[in-house]
């Protein structure tokens, strides 16, 4: 073992983290506020739907996932004051009216015959968009200065990926005919259009912006 008094580099040779990141404190806080808002809308909807789905396996799975998203909302709620936002409710808002319209449309199905629509809205539209926005944030924020957000993003992403798979498998098990396929696709298309209009769960720039080609070549 090297002598304890021998100077060592502050960062181990394999630690290549860099200081710069794509987001300022305010930008990260704004995204986190939007995350809290959408996680709240999602856990409330899943909780409400539990009583409206007759399929026992779906009912129990929605109850489990309801808590996952509530816990994510709590993570973001606690992160906001650490990002200098002492009134977390101020930033826990949708990024635009289009995302509110998306949530209204996603939570509209209520009848017990509409389990496919309920699941498609969450697991084929919303959760894939959450995974995309969280991944973009994870990959581009400063790995040193914004490490607490990264930690929460990783916890949330693990749940999102697991729940996405659960939900997709439930959908596949419920789709038994060509008509069911048409129903699922039609509902997905309707909601996807609303999500595109919103620009994603954090609004425009949810997964970054494509640079112009002349910028790239420059």
């Amino acid at each position: 073992m090297a002598a304890p008094s021998k100077p060592r580099a502050a960062f181990a040779p394999w630690d290549r983290r860099e200081l710069p990141g794509a987001f300022t404190v305010e930008e990260s806080a704004a995204r986190v506020g939007h995350y809290k808002w959408i996680e709240m809308r999602l856990f409330e909807a899943l909780g409400g739907w539990v009583a409206t789905v007759p399929e026992l396996d779906v009912k129990m799975r929605l109850g489990t996932h309801c808590y996952h998203h509530a816990w994510h909302a709590e993570l973001w709620h606690k992160r906001l004051p650490e990002l200098r936002e002492m009134n977390p409710d101020r930033l826990a808002v949708p990024p635009n009216a289009e995302l509110e319209a998306f949530v209204d449309a996603m939570t509209e199905p209520e009848a017990p015959e509409l389990t496919i629509e309920k699941l498609v809205g969450v697991y084929r539209v919303l959760i894939p968009h959450k995974i995309a926005a969280y991944t973009y944030h994870l990959n581009n924020t400063s790995t040193i200065t914004d490490a607490p957000t990264i930690r929460s993003l990783r916890f949330a992403l693990q749940d999102e990926l697991d729940d996405w798979r659960d939900g997709e498998m439930l959908i596949q098990s419920l789709i038994e005919s060509a008509d069911d396929v048409d129903r699922a696709i039609a509902h997905q298309a309707k909601l996807e259009k609303l999500m595109v209009a919103a620009g994603g769960i954090a609004g425009d720039g949810s997964i970054g912006s494509q640079p112009q080609l002349d910028e790239v070549s420059a």
Binding site: M40, F43, E44, A45, L46, G47, G48, W49, V50, A51, T52, V53, P54, E55, L56, K59, M60, R61, L62, G63, T64, C66, Y67, H68, H69, A70, W71, A73, E74, H77, T107, E108, P109, E110, P112
Partner: protein, 272 residues
């Protein structure tokens, strides 16, 4: 999706049969198949003990479904806030956590039903727990469901755990012990939220406690739950203390159960 879903609209598959709880509760005839006519303690040496235990387990299962649904609806039904028709963010988080717990209890109950030889839908379902979760005031929901009915669940799980121990069933004992731990947490949630949300509103607290008394008496199941030696479901004092009940509150529940038992006896005597 609308706010406040009535119990009649709870979604079930074709295996489930629903009956009105009040019809069952007021029916003076013994119903051995459900164990409700047998006022003796639930012990393995009784000839109908397996049937009674299976019926009770199925009742636990349907109760867990409704508890899941009730907690889920409390997440959805209320806007954020501290008014009597609003729910604070942290309360909704607790209810979401309860959703997960109740979903696990459903899973456990289905597997225990299999273990005990019961099929889903073999016994009827009364939506009484969910009905208590339809109160428009979230504090009354939590006192009615978390303190009264989840309190009853503490007594039931403790009884089933003891039945499992006496009958040498380690699977039943193990599962009931785990569910009992969760129920204590849920009852404590109800106690904590009652105190927090009514700290400056004595009238609201009084209404909530009165609602709890009504639910406690109604669902003492004609005195089946009590402290008598032959009470089929024993009042679990120690666990209720852990869940935030004061001694006098437990005494009151015991007295309500005793009253319910005497009233049932009187109704039976009148029928002859």
């Amino acid at each position: 999706m609308k706010r406040n879903l009535p119990a009649a609209e709870l979604a079930r598959d074709s295996r489930f049969s629903r009956v009105d709880f009040m019809e069952r509760a007021r029916d003076p005839r013994p119903m051995p198949s459900e164990g409700r006519g047998d006022r003796a303690a639930l012990t393995p040496d009784r000839t109908n003990a397996p049937e009674r235990a299976r019926g009770l387990m199925h009742g636990i299962f349907t109760g867990e479904i409704q508890a899941l649904e009730g907690a889920g609806r409390t997440c959805w039904d209320f806007p954020l806030g501290t008014g009597s028709d609003e729910a604070p963010f942290e309360l909704k988080l607790d209810m979401a956590r309860q959703c997960w717990d109740e979903a696990r209890h459903c899973e456990i109950s289905v597997k225990l039903g299999d273990w005990m030889g019961t099929e889903i839908g073999e016994f009827a379902e009364s939506p009484f727990l969910y009905e208590a979760a339809c109160n428009p005031d979230p504090v009354l929901r939590l006192t009615g469901v978390n303190r009264a009915l989840e309190g009853l669940a503490i007594d039931v799980f403790n009884t089933m755990r003891e039945f499992g121990r006496l009958s040498g069933d380690p699977v039943l004992t193990f599962c009931e012990d785990w569910m009992l731990a969760d129920e204590v947490t849920h009852v404590k949630m109800g106690s904590d939220w009652l105190r927090r949300l009514t700290a400056d509103d004595p009238d609201r607290r009084a209404r909530a406690l009165e609602f709890q008394r009504v639910v406690d008496k109604l669902f003492s199941l004609g005195g089946v739950r009590g402290e008598d030696e032959d009470s089929p479901i024993k009042l679990a004092r120690r666990f209720r203390e852990l869940a935030g009940f004061a001694d006098e509150e437990i005494d009151e529940i015991a007295e309500l159960s005793h009253q319910a038992r005497e009233e049932l006896r009187a109704r039976r005597a009148a029928v002859g």
